[in-house]
Symmetry: C2
């Protein structure tokens, strides 16, 4: 198979490629060779190894941490307000044509994103004229206020990383179970949404309740406490806005459930779909300017 | 040297022993053999190995996680309100006389402590008639409301564990420096004390500010953000109360500084001193009832 071009989502822990014809994915492949495992000189070989399953040497459009300072080549941040794909793609050195989408930055409060700008662009490509807030759950969840096709402002919350550290490495790991307990989740969201300052002590309560009464639903409760606190922090973003949640797995479902309980009108969209639509928009833009 | 008795502080990660005569420590020793590294059957040997540097087979009074369900032998929690040493010491099986101080529990909100009750007892032994709040910084910081010689209520915050996980294992590890920046600490405390809901996003701001402007003082700022949020959560404990902070190292100093900035009258006391005074009180109690 000979792709017209290759769409590339290269994050901290994973490299994902799609063989593309126009906006259509023909095939996909994935490697555990993220930015975090590579030195700058190792990127070309990592890309070739993965892309060589397809014929030819199709050009690549890449987004994500590949463009960070410690990545392949730095694609300097563009400051908001601006379009999610404001131009400024950077060519990476190597045997194949590779263009990297720049991340976005915000001066006050200081904030950065890499990769999510492409998903925002993809969402807008699929939903022309949409105004509102896009929530992108992840290790570092992004809340992005979009108006008139531009990113007006955004905010990052470390909820996903806190969840991973607390559930796998803290004392709370002893109180995690695999049941999904929606009632425990809902109650936990309500607790920290109304009293966000109690997060650090509510977390220990989860452990103590298990010790003293054998309470279950620890994993749902942990997720709910963290998301409730995040919703309290990001209320200025989502209150009175239509919200699109990117991601249809457990994490996207949790945010959607919590936001819906607050009366926010929530749309859930597939993460891969908006990533590909965004990379396609970047590809078309690079051809138009070539 | 032949001790009259041996004081033992046996926590999750460490075993500490003091050779005692009455309330006076004659010598001390320490091992990296905490409850977390031992199965129940390994406790007697671990104790004998450490205690055998002294002559005789003096009886031992122990506090801490050694009395947890997964420790040597469970010393069941006693529910507050009660004296910090309410009796109920449990004899551990083995060649030597060993008595373990029980932890305290609270039904609503669910909470537990093991080891800190002994420090509270020690503080009260050294400060008879004291009423107020005792703050015991640690992996799981305890706030203990004491009145008329009893623990009325308490609250645990996971601040110390969050600090360790975030500074060593999260994306923030890239923005930690070894400088102590009091101004950054004070500003961070003020930020989350007044807007505690922003903790999860303020944490990422620390990283973004480093990326965008090379901001320093990351470690002080992280400490300040977490302690500020904790002070917001525990305001009902410390507001209008005299506060004793147990611990004179960096962590105790940080809590004292943050509380003092809020106008709370703070006393700092040495952790070892109150542990020994508490174990001595437990020892005398066990003799009186023997």
């Amino acid at each position: 198979m000979t792709p017209e071009w290759i769409a590339c989502d290269w994050g901290t822990s994973r490299l994902r490629l799609w063989a593309m014809r126009g906006g259509e994915p023909l095939a996909a492949t994935e490697r555990d060779r993220g930015m975090g495992q590579l030195t700058p000189s190792e990127f070309p070989e990592a890309l070739e190894e993965a892309a060589s399953i397809w014929d030819g040497s199709a050009p690549v459009v890449a987004c994500g941490m590949v463009g960070a300072r410690q990545g392949w080549v730095e694609a300097p941040y563009v400051a908001v307000p601006c379009a999610p794909l404001p131009g400024g793609m950077v060519a990476a050195p190597g045997p194949r044509e590779v263009r990297i989408v720049p991340g976005l930055s915000q001066a006050d409060p200081p904030d950065v994103m890499r990769g999510e700008e492409t998903q925002v662009a993809g969402f807008l490509a699929l939903n022309q004229g949409w105004d509102g807030v896009i929530c992108l759950p992840g290790t570092h969840t992004k809340w992005v206020h979009v108006s008139a096709g531009e990113v007006v402002s955004f905010r990052t919350s470390m909820t996903g990383e806190l969840y991973a550290l607390l559930s796998e490495q803290s004392v709370l790991r002893h109180s995690m179970d695999e049941t999904t307990d929606d009632a425990a989740f809902d109650a936990a969201v309500a607790d920290t949404l109304s009293r966000p300052e109690r997060l650090a002590s509510d977390l220990f309560t989860l452990r103590a309740a298990d010790l003293l009464t054998g309470a279950t639903g620890g994993r749902s409760r942990l997720s709910g406490l963290l998301i409730g606190a995040e919703l309290a922090a990001t209320r200025p973003f989502w209150l009175g806005q239509q919200v699109a949640v990117v991601g249809t797995g457990d994490q996207g479902r949790a945010y959607s459930r919590a936001l819906s309980a607050q009366g926010a009108p929530v749309t859930q969209v597939r993460s891969d779909a908006v990533t590909l639509a965004g990379l396609t928009a970047a590809w078309r833009k690079s051809r138009a300017s070539a």
